[in-house]
């Protein structure tokens, strides 16, 4: 299974700090949208693609990960052809393609804990307003940790139901999935406490 997750490696991107990478991402996105030049947008795609490849993740995984966004961008392009102009379509698609490639390069090369730390740091000033940055950081890490677990539960439940001859019925899948997920979450909460995390 491939999720847009961290891929360990030694690339220059991996060595850069999470803060630097995210700041660069923000600057590039702003620049792309401030400069309405189709040539800048067109030129940025191969550069962003090179950055994406520079993460050093396996080529097949990198390509597979682009399938979903590519379909989406195709739809965006068709939408512009229908309701706008070719130039607008090209501009929109190239801008988004650049952003998707760069954002993926950041997630591929940045461990979750670093992202969480950055978020914790960024939310620090909100502490007096009652925001607990450590909790937000933990929540992000847990959400990412839980994605493959929920996917696996989903498979188990579907198999169990299929084995009993039940047709795939969304409600029949969702109810046990929610119950099991809540139970796992309960156990996970105990584990977090047992491991010395203080609320």
């Amino acid at each position: 299974m491939t999720i847009g997750l961290y891929h360990p490696g030694q690339s220059a991107l991996h060595r850069a700090s999470a803060g630097a990478k995210l700041s660069a991402l923000v600057v590039v996105s702003l620049a792309l949208f401030v400069a309405p030049s189709i040539w800048v947008a067109l030129a940025s795609v191969p550069i962003a693609f090179a950055v994406y490849l520079a993460t050093g993740a396996p080529f097949r995984r990198l390509m597979a990960q682009l399938r979903g966004p590519a379909i989406l961008l195709g739809l965006v392009f068709v939408f512009h052809l229908a309701f706008g102009s070719v130039a607008e379509g090209v501009l929109a698609v190239t801008r988004f393609a650049t952003l998707i490639l760069l954002a993926s390069a950041v997630t591929l090369s940045t461990p979750v804990s670093e992202m969480a730390e950055l978020v914790e740091w960024g939310l620090g000033p909100l502490r007096p307003l009652g925001v607990n940055p450590e909790k937000v950081g933990l929540a992000i890490a847990l959400a990412i940790r839980f994605v493959p677990l929920i996917a696996e539960e989903f498979r188990h439940i579907r198999e169990a139901q299929a084995a009993r001859g039940l047709a795939a019925n969304p409600l029949a899948l969702i109810v046990p999935l929610v119950i099991r997920t809540l139970k796992s979450a309960d156990e996970l909460a105990d584990a977090i406490e047992a491991r010395g995390y203080e609320r």
């Binding site: 299974m1 997750l5 961290y6 360990p8 461990p111 979750v112 804990s113 933990l138 890490a141 847990l142 990412i144 940790r145 493959p148 677990l149 696996e152 796992s184 156990e187 996970l188 105990d190 584990a191 977090i192 406490e193 047992a194 491991r195 010395g196 995390y197 203080e198």
Partner: protein, 224 residues
């Protein structure tokens, strides 16, 4: 040493543990009993995840109800399902989790993680996503993440139940080699056959207490 003084517990008035008095100085203690007999509740009393409704639980003289922070430092807990114990998506990050909670400095965190993973030859897994590990690897990572925080006692709640034989053997060997005192709840009787003491729990009471050679045959007989 672990001491339970007249401990009783109930969940919403349903009694789960009744009048338990025990002193547990041994280094290897097994707990057996049928499903729902109260083993997990008993195990959870030992690290303060469950606080007794009556009586006291003392770890080296510290009351679990008084100083839960100190208890969490003393008692490590390994759950049945490592998927519900491992908090972070990457192995190394998960080992760092308990250390960060204890405010250990960054440089020290790094060296301690390396040492903890090396104990079970898991160094190569440090950067791996947890969801791609085998069941046995996950359980050993969960155990490493507990040991890296340097507890004085380790409690295991059915650590081998979800594992295939090879992984079960790896985890059993790890428990065997552990220098720490350990309390192990298990249906895997072979795992605790060599322990110093075995308790059998039945309907929330200690129904048998002694050497494995005495308690395990009695337990097998009861479960027929």
């Amino acid at each position: 040493m672990i001491v339970l003084e007249a401990v009783s517990h109930d969940f919403e008035d349903r009694p789960v543990l009744a009048e338990i008095d025990l002193a547990l100085p041994e280094r290897r203690i097994g707990i057996v009993g049928a499903n729902g007999s109260g083993k997990s509740t008993f195990a959870r009393l030992l690290n303060g995840l469950v606080l007794p409704k009556q009586g006291r639980v003392l770890i080296d003289g510290v009351d679990t109800a008084r100083d839960v922070k100190a208890i969490r430092r003393k008692v490590g807990f390994v759950f049945q399902n490592p998927d519900h114990q491992i908090v972070m998506p990457i192995v190394g990050e998960d080992l760092a989790f308990g250390l960060k909670a204890r405010k250990i400095p960054k440089g020290e965190i790094d060296t301690r993680i390396d040492a903890a993973l090396a104990r079970y030859d898991l160094g190569h897994l440090r950067e791996r996503p947890v969801h791609l590990l085998s069941g046995g690897e996950k359980q050993l990572v969960a155990l490493s993440a507990v040991l890296v925080t340097d507890p004085e006692i380790v409690v295991f709640d059915e650590p081998t139940t979800l594992l295939d034989l090879r992984n079960r053997n790896r985890v059993a060997a790890a428990i065997d080699a552990l220098p720490h005192p350990a309390i192990v709840v298990s249906h895997d009787l072979e795992l605790i056959a060599g322990f110093e003491r075995v308790l059998m729990i039945e309907d929330g009471r200690v129904a048998a207490d002694g050497l494995p050679g005495e308690v395990l045959p009695f337990y097998r007989e009861r479960m027929r």
